[in-house]
Amino acid sequence: MDDRLRQMLAGYVDNELTEQERIEFERELAVNAELQRELKEFNRLKTVTGQMKYADLPDQVWEAYWQSVYRKVERGAGWVLASVGAIVLLVFGVFEAFSKLYADPTAPLWLKTGLTLGAVGLIILLVSLIRERFFAYKRERYTEVEK
């Protein structure tokens, strides 16, 4: 069976053919046993699927739907603000601690060196992570809206 006939079979079952296509299809149907078998199968399937429908949600769920969506928007904004605030405080705290440590002549050199290397390592990891996420976002941000 060729592609056009397959398409027409689907269209015939769903009454989506033009008059001319329908006549053409029925002419082929009269002499094609495979087509007759498939038509029977598809009609049966359509009958079964026609006996089913979606169950809806209760009205109270729909009434609360918008509130639920809006709460998620608010929470999302809340998380962003809280995260930014936490990062600012953390950076400030680390900066203060390091300033005091380096200004203290009694602090041992190994401690200053160790903390410095650790801090540089963490900054590199952080920058790398941000860069990766940024490029991934640039590449993928349309995946949710484009075919």
């Binding site: 398409q7 027409m8 049966r44 089913m52 979606y54």
Partner: protein, 207 residues
């Protein structure tokens, strides 16, 4: 042509899928997205109220679980809200929004298959029920419908998508073609192959 446009609007309305600009004071979906992007909370609310049922029921057909479909539909609205900056005012809203739902459903199914490595439990399949049939008819059809439920969940995503849109969202070929941005002939081919696979899963000639 005008008759066709009116017909299409009516069909899309019936399917809960129209671009609403059909009355005084009614704002189009596209305008609502643009307003939403400019921080208009009311526009966002209108969009949600307008399409929440369609979003939920479409997700339901794709993932087969009511709780997850509810979450996916809500997440789709959040994504639409966050992505509204990428929306072009001259593009139709519903294909854009539908793509968000479909991608979320795909991701959900992928995660689910990794987590469980099995099909969705029948207990989770709450989305299909018999329509207005008598108890006797319902009883007789019970096994067949259970088989259909199981088979639908085993179909590849693209097959389930086309069957959901056509059979359970009652969309015409033209509407599906517009929604998925594919030619009408492709809709017909996809429906043909989806039905073939579904029939095979149900045991071939089950009549």
């Amino acid at each position: 042509m005008r008759e066709f446009a009116r017909y299409m609007t009516q069909r899309l309305d019936n399917a809960g899928l129209s671009e609403r600009d059909d009355g005084p004071g009614m704002v189009t979906d596209s305008a609502l997205v643009m307003n939403m992007h400019n921080g208009d909370k009311n526009a966002f609310r209108q969009l949600v109220e307008r399409h929440k049922r369609m979003a939920f029921q479409t997700a339901l057909g794709l993932v087969g679980n009511r709780d997850d479909a509810y979450d996916i539909s809500q997440e789709a609205f959040l994504r639409a809200y966050r992505s509204s900056g990428t929306y072009k005012s001259d593009q139709p809203f519903l294909p854009w929004f539908y793509t968000i739902i479909a991608n979320l459903a795909r991701t959900w199914l992928k995660k689910r298959s990794v987590a469980k490595s099995r099909d969705v439990d029948l207990d989770d399949v709450e989305y299909l029920m018999t329509s207005d049939t008598t108890p006797e008819e319902e009883y007789i059809r019970g096994e067949e419908i259970d088989l259909l439920r199981k088979s639908l969940l085993k179909l590849p995503f693209d097959d389930r998508e086309i069957i959901t849109l056509h059979h359970f969202r009652n969309m015409s070929y033209d509407e599906i073609a517009e929604l998925l941005a594919i030619p009408r002939g492709t809709v017909m081919s996809r429906l043909y192959y989806a039905r073939k696979r579904l029939a095979r899963l149900m045991g071939g000639d089950h009549g």
